[in-house]
């Protein structure tokens, strides 16, 4: 391998290693070593480093798929709604699944908060509640209805996030 080819490959691999920094060290090393072996074999077969590197594209683009997959796994493993929502927000611009998941999360999250707010208000200031025109029809029956809405919608909000994350993980890349 020529000196220039070696320099080009080392520069690209060095940058790849940098952008893969969020990954665990063993995983990062695996990706870099495998890319190096591939590139050096291509060059040994007569290809220039530039041509061999063209197949991988820019290091940050190549790393993106690994990083996104890692972020999705981390978010799912965290089991935290806010972490999952934040991860989906990060890829929402590239993915319809992520966007729909976030919209569903916001809709169900808002109705959950609304139900809890109504519940608290009904408890604290029953005279202010008048959800329907005319008289209050449910009376104290409003309590279990609001609790049920809050619980079901909170579950649906979380389920929307999990479903979107699993949907994204099941795809080769996000476009």
């Amino acid at each position: 391998m020529g000196a220039q080819d070696e320099t080009d490959i080392n520069t690209w691999l060095g940058y790849l290693e940098q952008v893969l920094a969020p990954l665990p060290a063993s995983e990062r090393e695996d990706i870099v070593v495998e890319a190096r072996a591939h590139l050096e074999e291509r060059v040994a077969a007569g290809l220039s480093a530039t041509s061999a590197l063209a197949g991988f594209g820019k290091a940050e683009h190549y790393a993106r798929a690994f990083l996104d997959d890692h972020a999705l796994t981390q978010a799912l493993d965290s089991r935290r709604a806010l972490t999952m929502a934040k991860t989906l927000f990060g890829v929402a611009g590239q993915s319809l699944i992520a966007t729909l998941g976030l919209i569903a999360f916001l809709v169900f999250g808002t109705t959950t908060i609304g139900a809890i707010a109504c519940l608290l208000l009904k408890f604290a200031r029953p005279e202010l509640i008048n959800l329907w025109p005319g008289s209050e029809r449910l009376g104290n029956g409003l309590y279990p209805v609001l609790v049920a809405i809050a619980v079901i919608d909170a579950w649906l909000a979380r389920f929307s996030l999990v479903l979107a994350l699993k949907g994204l993980k099941g795809r080769p890349d996000r476009e």
């Binding site: 695996d30 990706i31 070593v33 495998e34 890319a35 190096r36 072996a37 591939h38 050096e40 074999e41 291509r42 040994a44 197949g55 991988f56 594209g57 683009h61 190549y62 798929a65 690994f66 997959d69 796994t73 993980k169 099941g170 795809r171 080769p172 890349d173």
Partner: protein
């Protein structure tokens, strides 16, 4: 749909035996007519491995200057290949019949 075909072809190739990245690229090109780039192949291998459909191991071979990472199909991958392959064959059979209708 094209992405699903890539997975299917890749798993079918690995059903014949474990291969490393460069040979997988060449195999898919020569045997399936699929021109993948390295930038598509390796993240796909990574994802399939995480999903448990394929497994990998590093091998040190005498003729190679670097160790090579070989990928092989897992039992779960073989089951998935059978299921997806059947769906694909049925779909293409019906589509072919539809396209040839009246010709």
């Amino acid at each position: 749909m094209y992405k699903g075909v890539l997975e299917l072809a890749l798993m079918r190739l690995l059903q014949d035996g474990a291969q490393y990245g460069l040979k997988i690229l060449d195999g898919l090109h020569e045997e399936a007519g699929l021109d993948l780039s390295e930038g598509t192949l390796y993240p796909l291998l990574h994802r399939l491995e995480k999903a448990g459909l394929i497994k990998s191991e590093w091998r040190h071979e005498a003729e190679a200057s670097h160790p090579r990472k070989y990928y092989g199909l897992t039992p779960a991958g073989a089951t998935e290949l059978k299921a997806q392959g059947d769906i694909w064959l049925e779909m293409t059979e019906r589509l072919n019949a539809f396209l040839k209708r009246g010709n």
